[in-house]
């Protein structure tokens, strides 16, 4: 199983080199998605991630995490610590996100109140990521072979030209894993960022999720990133829940030692 907390940011990043991609019209849906998948999404990254959860009644809940990531060959190591709220400050997650889909990710959790680290073996990938509207699968790079893609149309999203691509999982297993029966992806023709996405949830009952990452697209250390992302869960026209992620103090190419991504370091806290 592939899981990563940061893939989403990486999905949203694109190497400046891709700006010199071939003419848009020359690409089919599959090729576009290959470009999305194949970007250089930066290495040795650090960021402060603010997570804002909004419920139906507009009640807000904020969490702040400090995050670190490092590529290890095709695998990616990540470390994150909760900074806020105070009750969970210092709680840390260490994840080894393996490229090989056949290998389950490794994940450790450190609870400061218990002063103990536990390895976590969790199964359901369509489950919520930290109680947010994002699920683990949203954070994971998709295996292109598990989907059929169709280019539906081109249009403008937030003043950027975009392709609208329909992605349909080819197996019930992938529907279970991703939590979606189909998705529409709005891919930026210039950066190959997914600007927006509409997901049909497998639970049905008119439940859908809307990702919007089009508002704060910037270059950080030469890499395109979406600084703000909002995932909204709706049923019909009713909003059930919404999560906004904001990335601050982002940096790539930082001097991150491999020793940072160990259980010992996890237990030392921030």
């Amino acid at each position: 199983m592939k899981r990563s907390f940061f893939s989403l940011t990486l999905v949203m990043t694109a190497a400046a080199g891709l700006l010199f991609a071939p003419a848009a019209s020359a690409l089919n849906a599959r090729e576009i998605m290959q470009r999305v998948d194949a970007r250089d999404d930066g290495d040795n990254g650090t960021a402060t991630m603010e997570m804002i959860l909004l419920d139906k009644k507009g009640n807000e809940r904020r969490r702040t995490l400090r995050t670190f990531s490092k590529d290890q060959g095709d695998d990616r190591y990540r470390l994150m610590f909760f900074m806020e709220p105070a009750d969970v400050r210092g709680t840390g997650f260490l994840t080894y996100d393996y490229d090989d889909p056949a290998v389950d990710d490794d994940q450790w959790l450190y609870l400061p109140a218990l002063a103990k680290t536990r390895r976590i073996a969790a199964a359901d990938k369509s489950g919520s990521f930290m109680g947010s509207d994002f699920n683990y699968a949203d954070m994971t790079r998709k295996d292109l072979d598990l989907y059929t893609y169709e280019l539906l149309k081109e249009l403008t999203v937030a003043e950027r030209r975009a392709w609208v691509i329909q992605a349909v999982p080819t197996s019930p297993q992938e529907i279970d894993q991703s939590g979606y029966t189909r998705s529409l992806l709005f891919v930026d023709q210039a950066t190959f960022l997914v600007l927006r996405a509409i997901h049909w949830m497998k639970e049905g009952g008119g439940r859908m999720k809307y990702l919007d990452a089009s508002s704060h697209i910037e270059q950080v250390d030469g890499i395109w990133v979406a600084r703000h992302m909002t995932m909204t869960t709706k049923q019909g026209k009713t909003t059930l829940h919404r999560t906004t992620l904001r990335f601050k103090q982002m940096g790539f190419g930082q001097d991150l030692d491999e020793g940072l991504f160990t259980v010992r370091r996890l237990e030392q806290g921030l």
């Binding site: 009640n59 809940r61 609870l111 976590i120 969790a122 359901d124 049905g204 709706k234 019909g236 919404r242």
Partner: protein, 843 residues
């Protein structure tokens, strides 16, 4: 003995008080008017019927529990708020029994059943079984939160492990596994909200993406990106959208029937399946309604036709009343459709009720009309005479019936107020059709007079009977009164013992699968109904407080010891259980770690860990701010009164435990039932009092004498007192159905009295002699009273052929009340008039 000629006095002969003469004259003029303009009138009626009837396709069936309460009922608001937060609480339970639940082939079949239900059931929110139930445990330094059968057991050792884990789990016990491990359950939750109009296809979305930009187009179609992300998103409320439409009754049925059809495929020896739960019971009630409704409408039509044929022995005598009642019924039902009302459990009696009631007025019209016609009078004069003779009485009887029914209109129980409203309108429509359409039709078809010699012979027998009744009731008036007083005393003392209750399951016959299955599941899995308590700390992360979690835990333990003669607490699901579960798993499954941590931060971190473990189960019991949580109390199916006691207990104990710390709301089906019960009792008291007062007032007005008006109510009240007394003595609970008997029977019984008193006053005015007045009254309208009573009683007695106990009892009680009313009007009313007269003379 008077012959037919002097039974019917000439139309212009002054018989009664001047105001009544004027009204009767108006009715006669009206009869001539109808005769002259019958074509125009009939066309107008056809237009009315088409206009109203066009609402028929909009009429739907609704058996939902929440349908019993008005949308603005506070209990329902709390319930809806709960559903908005946590989803629908009602469970569908699929219980599977087999020789060995943990045998590989049994588990494989269970998995197939689970997957089939998941794949084929619409409006499904969630299904939990041994296949996917949460399994949280520590293994060495690893915390596992996964589905129990995530890794499919490959043989003996892993099967044993699963068996041990399952049997040892407090979470599974009495939820998905019986204590003796012979039964396992699939627990199904439906969506709380309707999916109608909320499902968007890719084409819908693409259609919204017309033009070249998504920004406005998508927003207007689906509003998916309705707020600018970033700054705006974090400050605005997430859900400006209005109230969602709750899962409809039809959708509930779709779901239940889809589950049933999967079960039918899988049920076999060694894998026996039973289906229960309140959504299933509701659907079964609906099914019974779907069969009973047309069945009893047809049966009523047949019995009415038969009685009409026997009475009039003319084709027009059958067809004309039928046309009146059928068109009245269609118009009423259509009007209900236009008004957005649906047929609910109590309103299902409406069609046969309106048929029975509507035909009564037609009988009174035709009885007089045919007789006057057969005396050689023309159609025009016969119509005029008939309306003059009976018009006022028919208006009064319809109004008193309507008053009895209208007394329900203000009921806090929604379907009962619907019934009151719709039946009142129905009776009034039938009244208008009887007074306008029936004479117009009589004018149209120009019925010929018939001379019947056998009829007079038969009439003599009946006339002799009525004469005997007159003599008996007057000569033995003292005895009749004494017996009535005795019966009244017995009735009142019985009525004082009547218990309120409401248990729709008891309406099913004992051998119905739903009854059997519910009993089985209540016994094996300790209940399929739920009461819910919402504990709201009023502040973010309020549930992290160890004191709050400990109190939740203590209350849960205490609740298992709940004592009630009719109810036990089978299972409690609480956030504290999840906390203990994760705490234990983090501490290498040590049994002493199945406890609430003492440290607030540890609680917060353990919940964070759980949130992040891939399981979404936390969402079902706590809001995203950890401000409020639900405690689910699983209980067996029981009488509403037991639920009301449980609800009160929960309110008291939770409020005491969390005083000043959190606010408490008790909701769920149990609380709804409790509310419905209270509302029913209130409704019944209200409607009985209103009906009695209004009808008494109308009688006084009609008779024009306060004393006689009051006395005339005695024959009406006696049947109600006797029926209530019977319920009390027989120990039958007064529920939502049989409580309707009183007001309906009063409204119908009074018809006989109106006809009796109306005619009695006419003849008494003429002769000044009680005996003669009574005899002439019985001879002129007694037959029609007897026939209408037979028609009405038969209409209600047909319900005794139903397969539902509530309908059987309702039919038997109402039918009997009407028969008693007739007997009281034949015997008690003359006796009372005689006694009154005697006293007046003595005075």
């Amino acid at each position: 003995m008077p012959n037919q000629e002097n039974i019917l006095p000439p139309p212009t002969r002054p018989l009664s008080a001047p105001w009544r003469i004027r009204i009767e004259a108006h009715f006669e003029r009206f009869g001539r008017f109808v005769f002259r303009h019958h074509w125009k009138i009939l066309l107008a009626i056809v237009a009315v019927v088409i206009g109203c009837g066009s609402g028929l396709p909009k009429l739907s069936l609704d058996t939902s529990t929440e349908g019993f309460l008005h949308p603005q009922d506070p209990t329902l608001s709390v319930y809806n708020e709960f559903r908005e937060q946590f989803g629908r609480e009602e469970l569908i339970l699929v219980a599977v029994t087999g020789p060995d639940i943990f045998a590989p082939e049994f588990l494989a079949r269970l998995r197939d059943l689970h997957q089939a239900i998941e794949a084929e059931t619409p409006h499904l929110e969630d299904i939990t079984s041994l296949v996917n139930v949460r399994n949280t445990r520590g293994e060495g330094g690893t915390l596992r939160v996964e589905e129990l059968l995530q890794r499919w057991p490959d043989g003996g050792a892993s099967l044993d492990q699963i068996r041990t884990q399952a049997m040892g789990s407090a979470l599974y016990r009495n939820m998905i596994l019986s204590e003796d491990a012979t039964t396992t359950a699939l627990v199904i939750r439906s969506s709380a909200f309707s999916s109608e109009g909320v499902e968007f296809s890719v084409d819908d979305v693409l259609a919204g993406l017309e033009g070249d930009t998504t920004d406005e187009a998508t927003d207007t179609l689906i509003g998916g990106f309705d707020e600018a992300p970033g700054e705006g998103a974090s400050t605005g409320a997430a859900a400006p959208a209005g109230q969602r439409v709750v899962l409809s009754d039809a959708e509930n049925s779709e779901l239940v029937r889809a589950v049933q059809s999967v079960i039918d495929r899988f049920d076999r020896d060694g894998f026996s399946i039973r289906l229960a739960g309140s959504p299933v019971i509701l659907d079964d009630l609906k099914r019974s309604m779907e069969t009973n409704l047309p069945r009893f409408t047809i049966i009523s039509l047949c019995t009415i036709s038969l009685l009409l044929a026997l009475m009039f022995r003319r084709l027009s005598g059958v067809l004309l009343p039928l046309a009146v009642v059928i068109l009245s019924l269609l118009s009423t039902l259509g009007l209900m459709g236009h008004l957005g009302m649906s047929i609910k459990l109590p309103t299902q009696i409406l069609p046969s009720f309106l048929l029975a009631v509507g035909v009564g007025a037609s009988v009174h019209i035709l009885a007089i009309f045919y007789r006057y016609l057969d005396q050689g009078n023309g159609s025009r004069e016969s119509i005029a005479f008939t309306l003059g003779h009976s018009g006022l009485a028919i208006v009064m009887t319809s109004l008193t019936t309507a008053a009895g029914l209208a007394s329900f209109a203000g009921s806090p129980v929604a379907p009962i107020s619907d019934l009151g409203f719709a039946a009142t309108i129905g009776v009034l429509i039938a009244l208008i059709f009887t007074l306008v359409m029936l004479p117009a039709l009589l004018a149209l078809i120009r019925i010929k007079s018939v001379t019947r010699s056998p009829r007079s012979a038969r009439g003599t027998v009946i006339d002799r009977l009525f004469t005997w009744v007159t003599d008996f009731s007057i000569d033995r008036s003292g005895g009749v009164l004494a017996l009535s007083v005795l019966l009244t005393v017995a009735g009142i003392s019985g009525a004082a013992m009547v218990q309120f209750g409401h248990n729709p399951l008891e309406w099913f016959p004992d051998d119905e699968p739903i009854y059997q299955n519910t009993m089985f599941i209540d016994q094996q899995l300790k209940g399929g109904g739920v009461a819910e308590v919402v504990v709201d700390t009023g502040r973010e992360n309020g549930l992290y407080e160890p004191a709050v979690m400990k109190e939740l835990d203590r209350l849960a333990t205490e609740l298992y010891g709940y004592q009630d003669p009719d109810l036990f607490v089978g299972k409690i699901f609480s956030l504290s259980d999840m906390l203990k579960e994760i705490n234990q798993a983090l501490n290498n499954n040590q049994s002493e770690a199945y406890a609430i941590p003492k440290d607030r931060e540890l609680i917060a971190q353990e919940f964070l860990l759980f949130e992040n473990s891939g399981s979404d189960d936390l969402e079902d019991v706590v809001d995203s701010r950890f401000q409020k949580t639900r405690v689910t109390v699983k209980v067996p199916w029981a009488d509403t009164i037991a639920y009301a006691r449980l609800t009160a207990y929960l309110e008291t104990h939770f409020n005491a435990a969390f005083e000043g710390v959190a606010s408490i709301q008790v909701t769920g089906l149990a609380a709804l039932f409790g509310r419905i019960l209270r509302a029913s009792i209130q409704s019944m008291q209200q409607s009985y009092v209103i009906a009695a007062l209004v009808i008494t007032l109308m009688m006084i007005l009609l008779i024009g004498d306060l004393r006689i008006g009051l006395v005339s109510m005695m024959p009406n009240l006696l049947p109600i007192v006797l029926v209530m007394g019977y319920l009390g003595w027989a120990g039958i609970q007064l529920d939502m159905f049989n409580m309707l008997v009183g007001s309906i029977a009063l409204g119908l019984a009074v018809d006989d009295t109106v006809h009796f008193m109306h005619n009695y006053r006419r003849y008494y005015h003429l002769s000044g002699d009680v005996r003669q007045a009574v005899r002439e009254t019985l001879l002129s309208t007694g037959r029609a009273m007897a026939v209408t009573t037979m028609v009405l009683a038969t209409g209600f007695y047909t319900y005794t052929l139903a397969d539902m106990n509530n309908l059987i009892l309702f039919g038997a009680l109402t039918g009997s009340a009407i028969v008693i009313a007739l007997v009281a009007n034949f015997l008690l009313a003359p006796a009372l008039m005689h006694q009154l007269h005697k006293r007046r003379i003595t005075a």
